[in-house]
Every structure is written in C-alpha cells, then in structure tokens.
C-alpha cells in the first residue's frame, strides 16, 4: 500500500533523466517533468540532478563506461561531436514526429554546427542560449547612458559607470571564459576554426579579443575579473551585478529571469556590441538519448522530448527561464500574443540569432577549450602575459594535441 503511494510510476515504462542545473531552472524543469508524468499514464520520467554541466558530463561518461547510464540527458554542444564519434548517442532521425517539431534551425543540430545536418541526428535543442549584455537599468537612466553598440562605446560606458569611492563599482563584468572569448573573436571578424577545418583560434582576431579584455581589466580598470573558474566565475558575475558591484555584465540569456527577479533595480538586456561585425556563439545544452538504453526506455524518453517540443512546454520553458524558445511556432506565438512587446528583454537573444555563428563539428574542440585556450585567457587577463605570444603558443600546442 505504502509502496504504491510512494511510487507513482508503477506499471509504466520508466526512463531516467540526468539534468545539470540548479536553482530556478531546475524548478521549472521539474515542473515540466511532473506535468508530463501526470499528463499520461504510459511513461514515467525520473529526473535526477547531477551538478553543473561539467560535473554532469563527468558522471555521465563514467556511468556509460560502468553500464549504469541514464536513458537520456542533456549535454553542452561542444561535446556532442565527441560523444557522437564515441558511438554512445542514439540517432533519432527515424523517431516518429521529429518533422513536426519545427525547430529554429540555428538552435537545432542543423545549424548549431557547421555541417550539422550532414550528421545523423543525435542532438535536440533544450536549453539554448546566447551571451547577452545586462545593465542596471536605473543606473543607466540616471546617468543618461544607452547600451553600447560597439567595443569603443563599451569602453567609454564602462569607464563612466566605474566608481572607485565606496561603495566601489566596476563598470563591466564578464566571466573570463572561452564562450565570451569566442563571442569577442567573432565580433573582431575571426572564427576559431576556419572553413577548411584549420584551427586558427581566430588568428589576429583571437589576439585582439584577448587584448580587449586586458585593456578593460588592466589598463582601464573598469572590468572586474571574477575569481574561480567554470560556473563559479559565472555565479560570481551574477552576484556582483545583483549587489550593485558591477553596472553591466555579459552573461548567458539563461539568467534573465533569475536576474530580473532578484535585482533590486530594473534589469535591462541588450545585444552584445559589435567591433568589425556583430557575432555571438550559441550555448547551452542539447538533449541526447543514450544508445545503450533499452528500447522501451528510449521510447519513453522520446515521448517526453516530443512533449517538450509542443508549443505549451516550449513556451513555458522559455518564458520561465530566459532560454530561447527552440521552435519557430513558439516564437511566432510569443510575438503574436504580444509577449515580446511586453518583455523586450526576452527578445534580445532571439534577435541575436541572426548573427549566431555555428560551432565546427569537431571532436577535439572541448579539449582545446579546456586544456589550451581557457588557461591562457586567464593568464592574459590576470597575469598580463602578452596576448600574441599566448595565442601563438596555443596554436602550436593545439596542433600537437591529440
């Protein structure tokens, strides 16, 4: 009796889902899972929290090796080509109903990667984001400043918003992280991997991107380098913004609702500024089903994924978190119903998709990020090492990397 009461999934086909975010986004996902579980009586999803993206990935990989993997999960885009090559992802091309999803191409596998449509379909967009700029709206209004549209304007605005007398305030904040560096490289006119597959790390644009950060942190002293790495640095950036210690930050659109809800001031979002052009990478994660899961579990996972791509869920997810709606139908609906007119901040990331740059389908990119580029970004910004030398070294090391 007690067992039945505590096991609502009894008699249904169960699938396990490992997910990797906490806080508000976790609550929203858990609501959606509960909604799915009560909406029908055939499938049951067990969602388990597994730490941040990197921790979750580490656990997932270890679990795959130990034959204890969940049915499905969601992972960052950079590792999808690697997992696909390792043959652990279920191709979903032939699953029923995919054609009805009406995915936003820039967010789906098709255009998230160069040549993504030529690969078997292994990834479906889930929480997809771009970096955007957030401002302390009250402060901006008081100072009569509008969001910067170019790097030069950003520098000037950061200088104006920096205050050295207590309570001290930095004009600008941004995690020293590969994702934002890739955004800067794109804006400086470069790309990390060239069209012919050569890893250039942006060439001159890569150096220029790094120097821009160095200027803000070391020369202008208008940008605060947050301590910690990975998601600790991101969290710190948010906290500095909310506490009024930073006037403008770059971070993921994922934090939109969190920042709006917790800031004691009006939050204003804007697209990232341009340098030679506008450019942003996309980020966030994609759904993947693990190949080794039993067929009935995969069917349950797929039923859940279909449910998540229905308008109602796609809209609920996006409007509750700040991630982008992944279907075109959802965007059209939000537009039609006047949601974007009422919530202009939510629109920023969607509009930025027109300048989104696809990632290369590279199995090594995440290692180049973690092992070769990321430590050098920190070295350049925090120790002031020469950007050109660092990037030259990075290219040599990347060529040697296997």
């Amino acid at each position: 009796m007690g067992c039945e009461a505590s096991d609502p999934g009894r008699g249904r086909s169960r699938a396990s889902l490992w997910f990797t975010y906490g806080g508000r986004n976790r609550e929203v996902l858990e609501k959606l899972v509960a909604r799915f579980n009560t909406s029908q009586s055939e499938h049951y999803i067990e969602a388990v929290y597994q730490g941040d993206y990197y921790e979750g990935l580490a656990k997932l990989r270890t679990a795959i090796f130990a034959k204890a993997a969940p049915t499905f999960s969601h992972v960052v885009g950079e590792v999808i080509p690697y997992l696909a090559r390792a043959g652990v992802l279920e191709p979903m091309d032939d699953y029923p109903g995919y054609d009805d999803f009406d995915l936003v191409p820039e967010l789906g596998q098709e255009k998230s990667w160069v040549g993504g449509d030529a690969q078997p379909l292994v990834a479906l967009p889930f929480n997809r984001s771009t970096p955007i700029a957030y401002f302390n709206g009250d402060l901006l209004q008081r100072e009569g400043i509008s969001p910067p549209r170019t790097w030069d304007e950003l520098r000037a605005v950061a200088r104006r918003l920096t205050r050295s007398t207590p309570p001290a305030r930095f004009g600008f904040g941004c995690p020293i992280s590969w994702w934002f560096w890739v955004a800067l490289v794109g804006q400086a006119g470069g790309q990390v991997v060239e069209a012919d597959g050569r890893l250039s790390l942006g060439g001159a644009a890569g150096v220029e991107a790094l120097r821009f950060w160095q200027t803000l942190v070391r020369e202008d002293r208008t940008m605060r380098p947050p301590p910690g790495r990975d998601y600790n640095a991101w969290e710190q950036t948010n906290q500095d913004f909310l506490a009024g210690r930073t006037a403008m930050i770059w971070t993921s659109t994922a934090f939109l609702k969190y920042l709006e809800d917790n800031a004691p001031f009006r939050v204003l979002a804007a697209p990232l500024p341009a340098h030679r052009r506008h450019a942003v990478p996309t980020g966030g994660t994609h759904w993947v089903i693990l190949k080794d899961a039993p067929p009935e579990q995969k069917a349950s996972a797929w039923a859940f994924l279909r449910f998540m791509h229905e308008d109602e869920q796609a809209i609920f997810w996006a409007t509750s978190t700040g991630y982008m709606p992944v279907t075109r139908r959802a965007i059209r609906w939000l537009e039609r119903e006047g949601y974007y007119a009422k919530h202009p901040n939510d629109r920023v990331a969607v509009d930025q998709l027109s300048v989104a740059q696809p990632w290369p389908w590279s199995t090594d990119l995440f290692r180049i990020d973690r092992e070769i580029v990321q430590p050098r970004l920190e070295a350049a910004v925090l120790s002031g090492s020469d950007a050109q030398t660092l990037m030259d070294q990075a290219r040599v090391e990347a060529a040697r990397s296997e």
Binding site: Y54, A86, G87, V88, P227, N232, P375, A379
Partner: protein, 290 residues
C-alpha cells in the same frame, strides 16, 4: 608467541590483505597499466607506450603540479605545526576556559572541508567579505585573495592551516602532558629560564610527537583537494592546480584517463619516496638511540 600452525598468521592477515588488494593494489596496477594508453573511457584504448609521461613532462604539467603542491605543503606543514605548538603551549593548563578554547579550536578540524571552504569563500569575498572589509577599514589595499594568481595558493594554505591547526594542537598538548614534570622542575631548580627549559627539556621530548604531526600533516597537505575544488577550481591561471586536482581535471574534465593514470603513478612514487625518506630517518634515529 608461536602460532599453533605456521599458516595461521596468514589466514588472519587475509581480510586486510584482500581489502588492500581490491581497493589499493589492483587500482594502482590498473592505473599503471592504463597510463600506457590513450583512453577516454568511451572509445577503445590506444597503446601509446610512455607518451603520456612524456607529454606531462614536456608540457611542464608534472613539474607545475609538483611545485604547486610542494609550495602549498611547505606553508601548511610549517604553519599548522608552529601554530599548533604555540596554541598547545598557551592552552596546556587546567581549567574550564582553556578546555573550552581548545575545544573551539579543534572544532574546525571536525567540520567538513566543503563547509570550511564555503565559509572562507564568504569571508574572503573581495568586495563584501569580512576579511576585505577589515583590510579596507584599516586603510589597506583591496586584495583579491582568491583571484590573484600570486596570492590564491597561499590563501588556500591559510584556510588549510586554520582548519588543521587544532589537530596539531591536540597532539602537541598530549605530547606536552607526557613531559615529566619532575624534569621541568629540576631544570627550573638549576636556574634554567622558561625559554631554556623549553629548548633543552620540552622540545627534545616532543620530538616523537613533532615527527608524527609532521608526517601526517605532510601527507594531508599533499592530498589537498576539497578546498581547491570549491574555492578556486585550480585557477586562477592554474596557480592552485595541485597534484590531486590535476589528476581530477585530467580524468573528469579533459576525459584523459591515460594521462591522469600517469599522474597517479608519479604521485604514488612521490608519496612512496617521501614515506621511505621519513621511515629511514626514523629508523636511523631509533638506532642511534639504541
């Protein structure tokens, strides 16, 4: 005492030996084996011989991890031992208050590493933390305790000292209480000052305690991981990438099991070397005394 059957001792050792074999020797041998492969757990391992060791040496990662860990350990061992000794000397007296203070100091040792790290993250926050506010109130410069590559490692060492000083204090207190009062009194009657009594009577008698505290603190500090994981994640600019964290990063973040295994082997040899050195020093001393 002679065993009834010559085989008896071996049977009795079997449970421990089996545990050691399963949880220590097998993983170690397996690590030594996988260190010869390029492997990510998911795809088939590729035999690469000693290439993992070569890459680790050539890229400077081994040297960096070793030097970082060593710098950390030297500061932690020296700091926690001297602080522990000073505290033990100050608090080695009867009464409820000294006992309370001893208990309060030791309490840090039993709190989990993660809690301690989170607490100190809050204290050391460069903008809003208690430490930074105190420095600012005294007119000092703004210090980014965890964000400055030149400082971060020593900040972590300080937090570690704060946590484990209570441990060496308790051991030193026990050591002090073993020092026969008659010897101290005799030295006092001979006119030795308190400093001379400490130098010529107490300190030599504390030597076994010192050696024990030194060895355990050294091993403890070489195995540091939690504070690094929580407070700096090996950064900034790898300045806090100590040995165990480097291994963790290789296997779980970079998905390089072979390279991580190579680091495990080197780390094992390093600890083995340290232990042998310590043992031989001990035995040498024991022989000298005999």
């Amino acid at each position: 005492m002679r065993p009834r059957h010559p085989r008896d001792p071996y049977w009795m050792m079997l449970p421990t030996a089996a545990l050691l074999a399963v949880f220590f020797f097998y993983p170690l041998l397996f690590a030594a084996y996988t260190s010869l492969f390029r492997w990510d757990l998911l795809t088939d391992p590729v035999f690469v011989g000693l290439a993992n060791y070569r890459v680790l040496l050539e890229s400077g990662e081994l040297g960096h991890a070793f030097l970082t860990t060593l710098s950390f350990s030297v500061v932690v061992v020296a700091g926690s031992m001297s602080l522990g000794l000073v505290l033990a000397l100050a608090l080695n007296r009867p009464g409820k208050f000294p006992a309370f203070v001893r208990g309060a100091i030791f309490s840090a040792y039993v709190v989990s590493w993660v809690s301690v790290a989170l607490l100190w993250l809050w204290v050391l926050d460069p903008s809003a933390g208690v430490a930074s506010n105190a420095v600012r109130a005294l007119g000092g410069p703004a210090v980014d305790w965890l964000g400055d590559p030149d400082i971060a490692l020593y900040t972590l060492a300080f937090v570690t000292i704060w946590k484990i000083a209570g441990y060496s204090m308790v051991l030193f207190t026990a050591g002090l209480q073993d020092v026969p009062k008659s010897l101290i009194e005799a030295a006092a009657l001979d006119g030795a000052s308190s400093l001379e009594r400490f130098k010529n009577v107490t300190w030599p008698l504390l030597r076994p305690t010192t050696a024990f505290v030194g060895t355990t603190s050294l091993i403890l500090s070489f195995q540091v991981f939690d504070v690094v994981r929580v407070m700096t994640q090996g950064g900034p600019v790898r300045s806090t990438t100590v040995f165990v964290y480097a291994i963790y990063e290789q296997v779980f973040m970079n998905l390089r099991v072979g390279r991580a295994s190579a680091e495990v082997v080197v780390f094992f040899l390093l600890l083995l070397g340290l232990t042998l050195l310590q043992l031989s020093t001990w035995r040498g001393k024991a022989k000298a005394r005999a």
